[in-house]
């Protein structure tokens, strides 16, 4: 087992799994955005002045691609209003004043019979608001349900190939038994006999610990993987474990695979065995603006300003605030923003990490082509992007780009490659929408 994909890079890992997980004291106030998943945002179920309990559902929607959101502290709702969201926009959020009681409102843990019933598990996964906690925040229940009948292989992503992040690794070390039970539940819900747990070899201690808990009993096989970025990419993970390649524009289910992340599996365990909804997770705080990296169990809705205080404040003025890992993470402009379910790291970067240049010039070294895990040709794609030649960009398969950032990381000339391809994809989408509108208008005209 364990096949290889072509390309990839070896960034400086900067990991700190030796830093023990601390519990970040809940803040005075939490801000819970109603959009913490890909898909339709939830409608608030509470109003100003309401008393809420921890784990209580405070937002839901009837839309199929969605996951409800829950209160991460107990207390009083002081506002229901739009607040800054990590993805940039203002999003309707519920602001809760913490009473520091953490009065829980747990769901009933599933009965042993229900723990064997795929429907009951799926229902619970949805109710607990479980989403893809590797960062994409795709509603897990919808993912599993839509893959039924097509998926023959369940893959758990334990690569955690992004530098700095330790949450998955520490979950494996702290809760091996629970994690395996969570994977078993996901496997039952998906209706497959076996799950493969791909873990990078740099987490040898976690691999050994999980293997000592008899994973076969839970229908899980641990697959040690090469330490290379982007091993944790969904397509790379599928390629490594099954040697199947996801079709261009297709979904993992198209090749019979479903990939869920480590922390998602753990959330499934908590939802089914303990009745807890997703309100907290391990987040890594690091970067040269902090004195030392911190791994802390953090409530959803904690503001970065409060986090920075709890981490001992800044030793240097940060210039960038990166949400997620440094390879695929996005920048955030203000400290008012809060953590969400998909936040696996918050990095406070100063000039030290910055290696951009003013006038990048391509030297045609071809390293981008060597490292591209999707076998694309970034050099040429960038030239066509500069000319805004959308037809050629399409011909060079820019839509296949997974935006892993390997080419840009490796580029000695510091070209803004990933950024260009992201923009190119948006331009292609816009063009397709325009063409569709024009065709519709023409059809309407013809009908008259």
């Amino acid at each position: 087992m364990a096949f290889k994909f072509r390309g990839g890079v070896h960034p400086n890992y900067m990991k700190s799994p030796e830093v023990p997980v601390t519990v970040m004291a809940p803040p005075k106030q939490v801000v819970i955005p109603m959009a913490q998943h890909i898909g339709a945002p939830c409608t608030p179920l509470v109003k100003k002045g309401d008393t809420v309990k921890m784990y209580q559902k405070i937002g839901d929607t009837q839309a199929p691609v969605a996951a409800p959101v829950h209160a991460s502290v107990s207390g009083t709702v002081v506002a229901v209003e739009p607040r800054p969201h990590p993805l940039g926009d203002l999003v309707m959020s519920v602001v809760i004043e913490n009473d520091f009681q953490d009065t829980p409102e747990l769901m009933e843990p599933l009965t042993p019979a229900q723990l064997k019933d795929p429907e009951a598990i799926l229902q619970r996964i949805r109710e607990a608001g479980v989403v893809g906690m590797g960062g994409a925040m795709f509603p897990t229940a919808f993912k599993i349900a839509s893959g039924r009948g097509k998926v023959d292989t369940l893959i758990i992503n334990g690569a955690e190939c992004e530098p700095y992040l330790n949450g998955d690794h520490l979950t494996m070390l702290g809760f091996p038994e629970q994690l395996l039970k969570g994977i078993e539940l996901a496997r039952i819900a998906q209706g497959v006999d076996k799950a493969y747990y791909g873990i990078e070899k740099n987490k040898a201690d976690a691999i050994a610990l999980l293997n000592s808990h008899d994973p076969a009993k839970y229908g899980v096989e641990i697959v040690p993987e090469e330490e290379i970025y982007p091993q944790g990419g969904e397509k790379m993970q599928i390629k490594t474990i099954t040697n199947r390649e996801v079709k261009p524009g297709g979904l993992p289910a198209g090749v019979g695979c479903c990939v869920i992340s480590t922390r998602t599996a753990y959330a499934i365990y908590e939802a089914c065995y303990e009745g807890k909804s997703v309100v907290e997770r391990i987040v890594t705080y690091a970067g040269s603006a902090l004195a030392a990296p911190v791994n802390a169990l953090t409530r959803v809705g904690t503001s970065y300003e409060y986090i920075a205080e709890q981490c001992g404040g800044f030793v240097k003025t940060p210039r960038k605030l990166v949400l997620g890992g440094p390879m695929m993470g996005i920048c955030c402009t203000t400290l008012e923003t809060v953590t969400v379910k998909g936040t696996n790291g918050v990095l406070f970067f100063t000039e030290e990490e910055d290696r951009t240049v003013d006038e990048p010039v391509c030297i045609r070294c071809g390293k981008c082509i060597n490292v591209c895990p999707m076998r694309l040709e970034p050099t040429y794609m960038y030239l066509y992007y500069k000319k805004r030649d959308l037809d050629m960009l399409e011909k060079y398969h820019v839509t296949d780009c997974i935006e892993c950032g390997s080419c840009t990381f490796r580029c000695p000339a510091r070209m803004p490659l990933t950024h260009a391809f992201k923009t190119a994809k948006l331009m292609l989408q816009a063009r397709a929408a325009r063409e569709k509108a024009r065709a519709e208008a023409a059809a309407k005209e013809a009908r008259k």
Binding site: K235, P248, M327, L335, I369, R375, D400, F409, H419
Partner: protein, 334 residues
């Protein structure tokens, strides 16, 4: 919100937020380091004049790049060291008796005409150092087509091979560099040491050098030459002339070689084949620099023809696609 002190607003930049430390400057520095054993051996064989040539040529190349960009009010790019590398590589392919002023003329041609007029680093379509050498050998053919050591004109091993007469140097002499020839080309040993460094530092990949040298070796073994043993003919062709140096240091020039993976192999084979074509049938005893210049011109065409299989599209899918296209064509024709 009034009590809030200074409100921090952060920069927004494109991902990834981290990058490798290996930038253009470091790559060029690695190339300079890789040529050190070759320069050292050149000084040992031909005297201090070689060092003077190297230093003055590098200085001249950097000066021309700076002056051109200054005069045209463009950003100054001498920091990336690519001009220094061009000046250095030009000396490596010139014979030891080259006067300094001639090297400076070559630098001017390489930097200003070949590189900067087309937009500078990464935009030139000919290898600047080799184009500079071609320009010099065409302009001063009397001085530069022979090799003079200590005032004595010596015939190179390739000259003997061209004439069909026995080579008076053993294979060991050819390999370690006890032969007459251009400054950088004589010692295959020093060149291989430099190549090992470049490959270890991931500045170049093995694909181009191996396909150039491999093609030359295969053609030599296949066709041989009357009067020489096959292996002697092959090894002298690979070690004694410019194949080793140009195949490793010149053919791998980033701007002028293909970037696609299969394209690099096609390009290397093309250089090897053209080199041997010139050596067998052409007027020159040498041939790799012209072979490289010709293949430079094909680079973009090669890149356009050599795509890798798209991720997620299997060979069977491709065959099906092609069959469908064929059927559609037939349909349209009938």
């Amino acid at each position: 919100m009034n009590e809030k002190k200074e409100r921090l607003i952060f920069d927004v930049t494109y991902q990834p937020q981290v990058r490798t430390v290996r930038d253009t400057q470091r790559i060029m520095l690695d190339v300079i380091v890789a040529t050190l054993p070759i320069v050292g051996f050149g000084v040992y064989r031909f005297g201090w004049h070689v060092l003077l040539l190297v230093v003055s040529s590098m200085a001249a190349a950097v000066f021309f790049e700076w002056a051109y960009r200054r005069l045209l009010k463009k950003s100054i790019t001498i920091d990336d060291l690519s001009a220094a590398v061009t000046g250095l590589l030009l000396i490596m392919v010139l014979p030891p008796q080259t006067p300094v002023w001639m090297a400076v003329v070559g630098d001017f041609f390489a930097i200003v005409i070949v590189k900067q007029l087309y937009g500078g680093i990464g935009k030139n379509f000919l290898n600047p150092a080799l184009a500079g050498r071609a320009f010099l050998t065409a302009s001063y053919s009397g001085v530069l087509t022979v090799v003079v050591i200590d005032g004595v004109t010596c015939a190179t091993p390739l000259g003997f091979l061209k004439a069909g007469s026995p080579v008076p140097y053993t294979l060991a002499q050819s390999f370690f560099g006890a032969i007459p020839g251009s400054i950088g080309e004589i010692s295959s040993f020093a060149i291989l040491a430099g190549a090992a460094y470049l490959i270890a530092r991931k500045v170049i990949r093995w694909r181009i050098p191996l396909s150039v040298i491999g093609t030359v070796a295969c053609i030599c073994l296949l066709f041989g030459h009357s009067g020489y043993g096959r292996f002697e003919w092959m090894l002298q062709n690979v070690c004694a002339g410019g194949v080793m140096f140009t195949g490793i240091f010149m053919a791998t020039d980033y701007a002028t070689s293909p970037v696609t993976i299969h394209g690099q192999i096609v390009y290397g084979i093309g250089i090897g084949a053209l080199t041997m074509l010139i050596r067998y049938f052409g007027g020159y005893a040498e041939g790799c620099s012209y072979a490289i210049l010709i293949m430079n011109l094909c680079t973009w065409a090669i890149d356009k023809a050599c795509h890798r299989r798209q991720f997620g599209v299997s060979r069977a899918d491709l065959a099906a696609q092609r069959a469908a296209a064929k059927a559609a064509k037939k349909e349209a024709a009938s």
